[in-house]
């Protein structure tokens, strides 16, 4: 719960300081995305059960905090990084309602994306860029909780 008394808060409430949750971060991860600086998170394969013989094909990304922009609108572009350093966009996310929130891990917003075949089998570095959808979208922040390959 935040200062405004509800887990979903209006834009215009006091700005949240989104402190990244460190438990899920791998080395080199940067879990807080702003317009000028993307979040980087390592998506690791989930443990398989004995009955699961198919290769993992989905990335599940959890977002544990969000601060909407002071003006305009924002979208999150998610890219997977290849071993050669190049990137491939795998999806786009939006936060609706466009209101600030800070959730515990169990109520994070989770998004899923298909994982291209060339990324199967190993951990994948994901980059989450905040890109203006409308206007300048200044002041937006998005906190990544974790990423998993299923």
């Amino acid at each position: 719960m935040g200062a405004c008394g509800s887990w979903t808060m209006r834009v215009g409430c006091a700005l949240l300081l989104l402190a990244p949750i460190g438990a899920a971060a791998a080395e080199g991860d940067q879990l807080l995305a702003t317009v000028n600086k993307p979040a980087v998170v390592t998506a690791t394969p989930a443990p398989k059960t004995a009955s699961e013989s198919q290769p993992a094909r989905q990335v599940v990304l959890s977002v544990t905090g969000y601060q909407p922009p002071q003006n305009g609108a924002i979208q999150g572009i998610v890219k997977a990084q290849k071993p050669d350093g190049s990137e491939q966009q795998i999806g786009t996310i939006g936060v609706f309602p466009d209101s600030a929130f800070k959730a515990e891990s169990s109520r994070a917003r989770t998004y899923n994306f298909p994982l291209p075949k060339e990324f199967e089998g190993a951990a994948v570095k994901l980059k989450v860029e905040l890109v203006p959808l409308r206007g300048q979208a200044e002041g937006a922040q998005l906190e990544v909780g974790s990423a998993e390959i299923r």
């Binding site: 509800s6 979903t8 808060m9 209006r10 989905q58 599940v60 305009g72 609108a73 924002i74 979208q75 572009i77 966009q89 999806g91 786009t92 996310i93 939006g94 936060v95 609706f96 309602p97 466009d98 209101s99 959730a103 169990s106 109520r107 994070a108 917003r109 989770t110 998004y111 899923n112 994306f113 298909p114 890109v131 959808l133 409308r134 206007g135």
Partner: protein, 522 residues
């Protein structure tokens, strides 16, 4: 569960359950429903009767009080600070919003007296800016009820490809299974949904969103901004047009072979007292009531084979007339359904085969298999035909219809099905599956589709009871199962496997009198 809905719609029928020539009450109701066409706002003239009716309906709802009013309906969705009854981020997202739209549609018909009204949709894949009819403060010198001052987007702001472009739509239409496409079931803490308690409906963001919800749904809300970006977004008349397009994409996904989950924790959920009928009484549909648009009174199937005569001059672009070759192909399809026995009728342009059913009825523990001898050369044309396009091209149903119907196709007809204990049973159809059992999932490549029965099996209206017949489209399954073989087989093994809808219940049995196969040439 339904199969071949796309086929039914392409033939202009309103049968949504794959059941033909039956005496079940549901068929009578469906035939009399006369669903109304939901049309795109693209190119719609400002004085189009649909837009004018929506304008009037919104105005009347805004002026009303009580259960059937603009504020009351919007409060169902949410208020300024939080969602109310509407689910987001769990698997009830699509069916709940479908029912929500239907409640508006019915209310507007009642208030305006226009029973031909159907909500138009904002196809933002094509129209990247807000529709013109919604951004003008006045219309014909009067305040425009479709205008909302609390929007942040300007009339010239455009949605980008990353939100609604072909790549996004391609991804959505290719997603499978349903819990990936339509958002997954809720998990509250460590507890996965395990019952039909109403609280699961409003377990917000307790599931994992798929591309449809997380990308165009969320981002169009955010793009418009203002009220549309908040939980009380249904106060903006553009909300319904946006959600109609989301609903239409769900329908398109079904038409392309996407199968809704049969899980009874989804299908069996009732949205108890969530909505209102036009008379203000509660409207409480179950998810299983919401899987096919036509019984709800609307359709997205646009081009009829024979356009109805019009007595008034059109105010918008008339529907496209199919080319003669397509009409000829329609006639071949119509002939399949117009005869009780393909083997004796032998419609022109259709290769027909049949086999009597001599084995025991299909049961949970033992599926029924019927081998039908076919000409492998005729089957080859189906197996190796070019696949129908997917992605943004298919958002034009006219083109999709013509592409779909112009190629060879293969159907099986399960004639005069004798069934028992159908109330808890899904009858699954497979093709050539050597390891078939009740545990084989519908994601298996041998899976064709499912059917069920509703209503009684007894006499209707004093007439002798008739056993229903089922039509299933084998085309996609033939391509998956035989596509890698150099020569298709000379026998199609059509299989029926009953499974219980509720895991703790019993499944019934089914046995057709015969199975007919029709290969419709290009």
């Amino acid at each position: 569960m339904t199969m071949s809905r796309r086929d039914m719609l392409l033939q202009g029928c309103v049968i949504g359950a794959g059941v033909i020539a039956a005496n079940t009450p549901g068929i009578v109701a469906l035939a009399q429903a006369g669903p109304k066409l939901r049309r795109s706002l693209h190119g719609m003239a400002p004085n189009d009767p649909i837009l004018q009716t929506w304008r009037d309906g919104v105005r009347l709802l805004k002026a009303a009080s009580g259960n059937v009013s603009w504020t009351s309906f919007a409060n169902i969705h949410g208020n300024a600070t939080d969602f109310n009854l509407c689910p987001h981020g769990n698997w009830y997202f699509l069916p709940w919003h479908r029912a929500y739209l239907v409640s508006y549609e019915r209310a507007v018909r009642q208030l305006t007296g226009n029973n031909d009204f159907a909500l138009p949709y904002w196809d933002w894949t094509e129209d990247r800016q807000m529709p013109a009819a919604f951004v003008q403060p006045t219309f014909n010198g009067q305040p425009n009820s479709l205008f909302e001052s609390q929007r942040d987007a300007t009339p010239t702001d455009s949605l980008p490809d990353s939100t609604v472009g072909p790549g996004v739509i391609n991804q959505i239409l290719a997603e499978s299974p349903f819990e990936t496409f339509g958002t997954s079931r809720p998990i509250n803490g460590a507890q996965v949904q395990n019952n039909l308690d109403q609280s699961w409906i409003n377990c917000e963001f307790c599931g994992t969103m798929g591309t449809l919800e997380q990308t165009p749904h969320n981002l169009v809300h955010v793009f418009v901004g203002g009220i549309m970006a908040q939980a009380n977004s249904a106060l903006d008349p553009l909300f319904m047009m946006h959600h109609c397009n989301i609903d239409r994409i769900w329908w398109l996904w079904n038409q392309g072979g996407g199968a809704d989950t049969p899980d009874p924790l989804w299908t069996g959920m009732t949205f108890q007292n969530n909505f209102f009928n036009p008379d203000g009484t509660p409207y409480s549909p179950k998810v299983s009531d919401l899987l096919v648009p036509e019984p709800l009174g609307y359709t997205y199937a646009d081009t009829p084979v024979t356009p109805p005569p019009s007595t008034t001059p059109p105010t918008t672009t008339p529907p496209t007339t199919p080319p003669p070759a397509t009409v000829a192909q329609y006639d071949k399809f119509k002939s399949l359904y117009a005869v009780p026995n393909l083997a004796t009728a032998k419609p022109a342009g259709v290769a027909t085969y049949a086999a009597p059913v001599t084995g025991d009825a299909a049961t949970l523990n033992k599926y029924l298999e019927v081998g039908v001898d076919v000409d492998p050369n005729a089957l080859r044309t189906v197996v190796y035909r070019k696949s129908a396009p997917s992605g943004s091209e298919t958002l034009s149903l006219t083109k999709a219809r013509q592409d779909y119907i112009s190629g060879p196709r293969c159907y099986a007809f399960l004639r005069e099905v004798d069934y028992t204990q159908h109330q808890n049973t899904e009858y699954r159809v497979f093709l050539d599956c050597d390891y078939l059992s009740a545990g084989v999932p519908t994601s298996n490549r041998h899976y064709v589709g499912s059917f069920g029965f509703f209503g009684g099996h007894g006499s209707h209206g004093g007439k002798e009871a008739r056993k229903p017949s089922i039509a299933v489209d084998l085309t996609a399954a033939c391509q998956r199962v035989y596509g890698n073989a150099t020569t298709p087989p000379g026998k199609l093994r059509v299989q029926i496997q009953p499974v219980p809808l509720k895991p703790t219940g019993r499944a019934g049995s089914a046995k057709p009198s015969r199975v007919e196969v029709a290969i419709v040439g290009a």
